[in-house]
Subunit: 152 residues, 2 copies
DNA sequence: AGTAAAATATTTGATAATCAAACATTTATT
DNA sequence: AATAAATGTTTGATTATCAAATATTTTACT
């Protein structure tokens, strides 16, 4: 790995790491200090609008339904999520966010918004195009790898 | 959040997520299938060259020494890490990678190298400069946030 | 020199995230 | 009606994590 490459690598690792830690701390300090990042992530998986089944949500999050069941148990206990049996197919359980859950979701999104604003704000139009192109390239590559390791 | 911003946000989340999963799977399939990402991370924290103390390593990784102790226990059992009491100060425990540990470390780095190569490879010189600048900006911002939440 | 304080690691007890496999309930198929 | 399939939950296990208690060794102080 040459000098340039390894600088890029280090920057990526550094960014990646600090975002994780910062998100967690930001969450712990805010109004929803009883939520972990993982729980926040579950809220995101459930989503703001549709009511999703357990299976859908688990697939969405890339976890097993067993894992989701215990996560939802806790989120229901804490008042962020509502569980309802589907009336037409009583095997199915539907989950959705409570008002409090939606609030938490939106608050968390502000963090991301802030991050993106700050990144994008100071850029020129050319730079913005460049950033978009770069990220799309990266997402494409990572997506390919992902497929290779999950199907191939 | 405007259209552009939210595209950037989505791309970032997508990349972030898929890298995590792919890394884990790649690891599980390879020659070091008994290592988790977290354990790999511990190996990185110990590093290739110096022998570090437990405290240094824990601080380096942002975890408590208690957590590190159990992680190192397992890595020693699996043959990736060596533990040695410091001869001049016998409170201190020094850890370093075994040959196998170094091998695993280097193998894992290949994944990162591949990623960076693929990202950087197709770029022009101008684009490379821009990428570097962008990442430095992002790292700067994230670093500031990090400090705010960890000290301020 | 002898004791109290500080530094370093480990152990303990607790919680959370995760999986696979066993189980229970409901629906679909034959 | 009986069997198979689908959907969730429960169980048992492992890993990651922390804070607080404990053990050992060194440093500082009197």
């Amino acid at each position: 790995m040459n000098e340039y490459d390894s600088t890029i690598n280090d920057l990526l690792l550094d960014i990646y790491d600090k975002i994780l830690v910062t998100e967690e701390k930001a969450l712990r300090r805010g109004s929803f200090s009883d939520l972990s990042i993982a729980e926040m992530h579950t809220l995101e998986g459930i989503g703001l609008y549709e009511t999703r089944t357990m299976s859908e949500t688990a697939a969405n999050l890339g976890i097993t339904t067993g894992t989701l069941t215990v996560a939802v148990d806790r989120l229901v206990r804490k008042g962020y999520v509502e569980r309802r049996r589907d009336s037409s197919d009583r095997r199915v359980v539907r989950v959705c966010l409570t008002r409090k859950g939606k609030l938490a979701f939106r608050m968390h999104n502000k963090f991301h918004k802030l991050l993106v604003d700050r990144i994008v704000g100071p850029l020129s139009e050319t730079e913005r195009q460049m950033l978009l192109k770069l990220l799309q390239q990266i997402a494409g590559f990572v997506g390919d790898q992902y497929k290779r390791y999950n199907l191939g």
